[in-house]
């Protein structure tokens, strides 16, 4: 009898485990057990290829995974680059900006708890503009919570980049090496600057050669987006510990069908 029950339990368990494998995952919980409050926006990045004067309409969708309805105001700002760094500029504050001509429909929307809302945004690239990116933000309407509580509002933005030509140019800096320790492998980095007029997303790899020219390691660089004029450090972590000595490197970056290579060298000192 006992065996009968055991077999029956096994049967049910088998069926239950298969059935439960097809149920959706529960929403993430806080360590205290409460559901987390979050919002999500799609798409996160849009890359548009167009001609000056052309318009494009994009649909952006926001999901409200909180316990309450949230009002979102849709705002588009220009992404500007000064001294190699990116910042946002409200619509109309720069000459020939893209944000000033953008139209969002609707410009304000209320998204109920657990639901999704969508907005259509039309962008027109002004003729002759040097701007190549905007960010369209869903700004949560904020109401002071009262009761001695501090409110936390969440907003998300979609980055939209525009490419209008094939003027892709990049400049690469010298190799910089971090100090290798027993706990941390050497991190090699190089500054890349976009000297062209179009956005690029270079991805690359670095090969490390020892003093006798033998390849001892290969490490990838994480891809990063560079707007025109922007400069970022691209880093690659050597997967292994290197013996003290002199090393040479060869970096290779691929972007928009072009390849940029750069030699370098560094030392691993005795500890």
């Amino acid at each position: 009898m006992k065996l009968t029950s055991t077999l029956a339990i096994i049967s049910y368990t088998a069926l239950w485990s298969i059935a439960s494998a097809q149920t959706p995952a529960a929403p993430p919980l806080d360590p205290g057990g409460a559901p987390r409050s979050s919002i999500a926006l799609s798409p996160a990045i849009i890359m548009v290829r167009c001609k000056p004067g052309q318009s494009t309409t994009q649909t952006l969708s926001i999901v409200n995974n909180t316990a309450s309805d949230v009002t979102f105001h849709v705002v588009t700002e220009d992404v500007v680059v000064h001294d190699g760094k990116r910042s946002f500029s409200p619509a109309g504050q720069i000459a020939n900006g893209i944000a000033a001509g953008s139209v969002a429909l609707p410009a304000t929307l209320v998204v109920k708890a657990g639901e999704q809302g969508s907005v259509q945004v039309t962008f027109t690239l002004p003729a002759g503009t040097e701007q190549r990116a905007v960010v369209t933000m869903f700004r949560a309407g904020l109401v002071p919570p009262g009761g001695g509580a501090i409110g936390l509002g969440a907003s998300l933005g979609t980055l939209i980049t525009f490419s209008v030509s094939s003027d892709y140019k990049m400049e690469i800096g010298p190799v910089q090496a971090s100090l290798q320790t027993a706990e941390a492998n050497v991190v090699l980095s190089q500054a890349l600057r976009n000297n062209g007029t179009e956005p690029v997303v270079p991805k690359g790899v670095m090969v490390i050669l020892n003093a006798s020219g033998k390849r001892v390691a290969k490490a990838p660089f994480a891809a990063q987006r560079l707007l025109p004029g922007e400069q970022l450090n691209f880093s690659a972590t050597d997967p292994s510990q290197l013996a003290p000595g002199h090393y040479r490197t060869l970096s290779s970056f691929e972007y928009e069908g072009k390849v940029l290579t750069s030699p370098g060298e560094f030392n691993i000192p005795e500890l």
Binding site: A14, G32, P35, S37, S68, P145, G146, G148, T158
Partner: protein, 176 residues
């Protein structure tokens, strides 16, 4: 006993067979799907911080409750620091997590804005003062899929009148 065992075995075999049968068969089905990238922002209670709670007016809130310069009680995981006789400060960490899927972006920019400028109290996120109500960049190269702690440090001068401090910090994340 033997027959019961045989019956149970048959039942088990049928159960498994049914499941196995359900996963076999033949035929073709065209599948068309467009994967669209997305970005997600979540407030998370820090292990050393005040519980981030839901709210009827905002995405989340930090319930400090009623606090006072001299004595009183301070909520769990909130640090109160009295600066002589001039002011007191309340501090608690909370985490902001940004996730990204199906998009070519390795980092994000996170900015914070106090919804209403505060000329009396001082609002710091870490070392960054957001009291002015203007958008301030917290990081231009945030790492995805990590709950990053930010410590809110609210300094209340002793000269300020009693009453409700009610404001909202708005966080905006954008993929780079």
């Amino acid at each position: 006993m033997k027959s019961k065992f045989a019956f149970a075995s048959v039942i088990s075999a049928v159960a498994f067979l049914g499941v196995a049968d359900a996963q076999t068969g033949s035929g073709t089905m065209g599948v068309t799907a467009t994967v669209q990238g997305s970005i997600n922002l979540t407030f998370v209670t820090d292990v050393s911080g005040l519980a981030v709670t839901g709210t009827t007016t905002n995405v989340a809130s930090l319930p400090f409750g009623t606090v006072q310069f001299y004595g009183g009680t301070t909520p769990a995981n909130v640090t109160k620091t009295v600066n002589g006789v001039t002011s007191f400060a309340l501090a608690t960490p909370f985490d902001v997590r940004v996730d990204l899927a199906n998009s070519a972006s390795s980092t994000y920019t996170l900015a914070a804005t106090l919804s209403a400028a505060d000329a009396i109290n001082t609002w710091l996120l870490g070392a960054i003062n957001i009291s002015s109500g203007t958008s301030t960049t917290l990081t231009a190269a945030g790492a995805y899929a990590m709950a990053v702690p930010y410590t809110l440090n609210l300094t209340v001068p002793a000269s300020a009148g009693p009453g409700l401090i009610s404001n909202t910090m708005n966080f905006t994340a954008t993929g780079n």
